[in-house]
């Protein structure tokens, strides 16, 4: 920071020698401390909000009773109030600033640097110009019953420091574009400072997401019957790999190159003329780690959105030079058009649509773009709909667990329960797992959902244990995706340790299909799980294509006989034959068997007679919500044990 530029900071009062002599005209020690603090903190500020919070803190120390406001210059040479304290007095301070513009005191501050003015016996105002020797940025206002001379000096120096920070933010432009008073939808309740951010991302120099959203907001408000607002979200395909393989420094460098290159491509006149827009109708911003957003205001020709995507793709196609070789990066682009009026009328809705389109583009492969169409919501992409639903469900805790009891077939004792995941739409209608599990698997959300389930079950185990119910094990289904990822056991163990639940209380159920996905990893996972004390059961046994192999090769705890072999039992000779063979084979290999899908008393009797150890099914007990399970099965066993005692 070059202090030499700043006359107010160079006043002789600032030297320590002068200070020690004391006197009313010198900066008092407190002020010096405040300025030191400001000089230390201001260079680190990256947004107007941060800047104002430092200034406010400093100003409060100097003149604790003062109300303050800051007005910054706009591109049209007007001044807008961008910050005030206390916030509640916004209207009053705005009015006061307007009065000072009318009275000429404001202009006096702009011309002379400061204006101290006693409006009423009980109220004085200090106006200071926020400016560097080259540029004028705005005016700061303090108002209180009295502002001492030395505090005024200190505030002057503080204002100079602020001006230097503003200069750094702006890189030379004089005006700070903020929403003007009249732009705002309503007067009350809007906190301004929170909303104002410096329109530049440090790494790429592009606008920030907040600025982007504000731009969209304004663009949407300015729609006419013939124009709409276009939004593009651009995501670098597989950028995490760049960071992982080349390191974050290199990743940053590439991100900067991508940003600059796209920015240059968007500045081209040919581009503007194709779209019939001017430069001020565009806002290109970094909206996420490796995601960019482009907003186009006053778009007359939404049919050109395709061309924009193609234009951007063509500038990235050649790749990037990295360490002497070519690095190919591709972009996925999601586009959405606001329509002329109704449709998407908030920045959030527009961004959501663009994001939906981006996801669709991603699903169709790399380097693709997709334009959002409203009918996706209805029928076009159930997959996407489910995916965002899952995301919301996770966030809003909309999943729930049901429990289905497992009984020993000889004594009909409760020996365990299978945990089943349920998801309801917002209207309460259920979505079958067969529909959302495949989606969750394809998007990778399954891992997050799996952890949620485990944690939830552990909570429940502890709750039921605390009530003194039977300490039965609970079976959790693990998907093929999870089974083919390393460190499955570790993830279980971590959650169970945190919840203080012993490993034997959790049984893991896997299908043969899940094993087949990545046999080697699955085997490793099963071994680790067993070594850690978890039981691992083969679910739906007999329907996978490697049944016998799984029995032979995998260190499993037992098998669950698929309902397919149970449903036709009693009467159908083939069904009976297969069931008997499987049970015999399991006995010989010393694997316990749980029969699934027992729906009749006859099936139960048959399986019991053939030596099947346990079973589940509608005949024995349907899957029910937590409370019902507790009422129906635990209260009962408790009562049973009470009777027998």
């Amino acid at each position: 920071m070059n202090l030499a530029l700043h006359p107010r900071l160079l006043s002789p009062a600032e030297t320590t020698g002068e200070l020690s002599k004391g006197g009313a005209a010198t900066l008092f020690p407190l002020a010096l401390d405040v300025l030191r603090e400001a000089m230390a903190q201001l260079p680190a500020c990256r947004t107007l909000t941060e800047l104002f919070s430092v200034l406010n803190a400093c100003s409060r120390t100097l003149v604790p009773t003062a109300k303050t406001a800051t007005l910054l210059r706009q591109p049209d040479a007007c001044f807008e109030l961008v910050q005030c304290s206390p916030r509640a007095l916004e209207a009053e301070l705005r009015e006061q600033a307007d009065a000072m513009i009318e009275s000429g005191h404001f202009a006096q501050a702009l011309k002379q640097g400061l204006c101290y003015h006693r409006e009423r016996p009980d109220r004085a105002s200090l106006l200071l110009r926020i400016a560097t020797p080259r540029r004028i940025y705005g005016v700061a206002l303090w108002t209180s019953h009295h502002i001492p001379e030395d505090a005024r000096q200190a505030l002057g120096a503080l204002t100079d420091l602020a001006a230097m920070s503003l200069e750094r933010f702006q890189g030379g432009a004089e005006s700070f574009l903020v929403q003007t008073h009249t732009d705002r939808p309503s007067v009350g309740g809007i906190s301004i400072a929170e909303d104002v951010a410096i329109p530049a991302d440090q790494l790429t120099g592009l606008a920030h997401r907040t600025h982007f959203i504000r731009f969209l907001q304004r663009a949407l408000e300015q729609r006419t019957p013939s124009t709409s607002v276009g939004t593009l979200l651009l995501d670098i395909d597989g950028f995490h790999r760049v960071n992982r393989e080349l390191g974050c420094d290199m990743g940053d460098q590439i991100l900067r190159d991508v940003a600059l290159r796209l920015d240059s491509a968007l500045r081209s006149r040919l581009f503007f003329e194709t779209l019939g827009i001017a430069e001020c109708d565009l806002c290109f911003s970094r909206t996420g780690a490796d995601e960019f957003g482009l907003a186009i205001a006053r778009l007359r020709t939404p049919q050109h959105l395709d061309e924009i995507a193609a234009h951007l793709h063509s500038h990235v196609a050649e790749g990037f030079l990295q360490g002497g070789s070519r690095l190919h990066l591709s972009l996925s682009i999601g586009l959405a058009d606001s329509g002329q009026d109704a449709d998407a009328s908030s920045p959030q809705a527009l961004l959501r649509n663009a994001d939906t389109a981006l996801k669709k583009a991603k699903l169709s492969g790399r380097n693709k773009h997709a334009i959002y169409t409203p009918d996706w919501d209805e029928s076009g992409s159930p997959h996407l709909r489910t995916e965002s639903l899952l995301q919301e469900a996770l966030r809003q805790d909309r999943f729930s667990l049901h429990y289905q009891p497992l009984f020993g077939l000889t004594d009909m004792r409760l020996v365990g329960a299978e945990v089943l995941l349920r998801l309801d739409m917002t209207d309460g209608s259920p979505i079958p797992p067969s529909k959302f599990i495949p989606v969750a698997e394809s998007t990778g959300q399954i891992a997050e959902i799996g952890e949620w389930v485990t944690r939830q079950v552990c909570h429940q185990i502890r709750a039921w244990d605390a009530l003194g119910y039977a300490r039965i094990p609970f079976s959790i289904n693990v998907s093929g995706i999870e089974l083919s990822l390393p460190r499955l056991t570790e993830r279980f163990a971590r959650i169970l340790a945190a919840e203080q639940v012993p490993h034997r209380r959790i049984h893991v159920e896997i299908t043969e299909t899940a094993i087949a996905r990545n046999e080697k990893q699955a085997l490793a996972n099963i071994r680790e799980l067993r070594e850690a004390g978890f039981e691992v059961w083969i679910d739906d046994f007999g329907t996978g294509y490697s049944s016998l192999k799984s029995l032979k090769n995998f260190p499993i705890s037992g098998i669950k006989l698929d309902r397919e072999f149970v449903k036709d039992l009693v009467g159908d000779l083939a069904a009976e034959g297969i069931a008997i063979s499987i049970l015999e084979m399991a006995q010989r290999l010393r694997y316990p068997v749980i029969a699934e899908g027992i729906e009749t008393a006859a099936q139960l009797a048959f399986l019991r007679a053939e030596g099947c150890a346990s079973g589940q099914g509608f005949h024995l007990g349907r899957p029910v919500p937590t409370d019902d399970f507790q009422k129906s099965y635990f209260a009962q066993t408790e009562a049973d044990s009470g009777q027998s005692a």
């Binding site: 591109p75 049209d76 001017a278």
Partner: protein
């Protein structure tokens, strides 16, 4: 013309400068209430108004948009020699195209 006599729809005939000599408003800018307030903020009491401004096309343009376009062009030409008539002509042509695109 004095500020008090100005009416919306008139146009500035000459550029208006801030105390540092930087351009505040370009000639041709349409007078609005907001512009009058801006002039008052800066303590400018008097400006030259175009005798007759009948440029319907740009009169229709939102003055704020025009100001934004100008601000961006100012930035683009900020490192050039703005006092040279050729640069001024180029600036004018760029401005015209940008406004014309709208």
């Amino acid at each position: 013309m004095r500020l008090t006599d100005m009416a919306p729809g008139m146009r500035l005939a000459k550029d208006v400068y801030d105390p540092n000599g930087n351009v505040l408003m370009r000639s041709g800018t349409v007078v609005t209430e907001r512009l009058v307030k801006a002039l008052r903020s800066w303590g400018i009491d008097e400006v030259t108004i175009e005798a007759d401004a009948e440029d319907a096309a740009s009169a229709m343009l939102d003055p704020k948009t025009a100001a934004e376009i100008r601000a961006l062009l100012d930035q683009q030409f900020s490192l050039s020699n703005r006092d040279h008539p050729v640069i001024q002509a180029l600036y004018g042509l760029c401005l015209e195209r940008a406004l014309g695109n709208r």
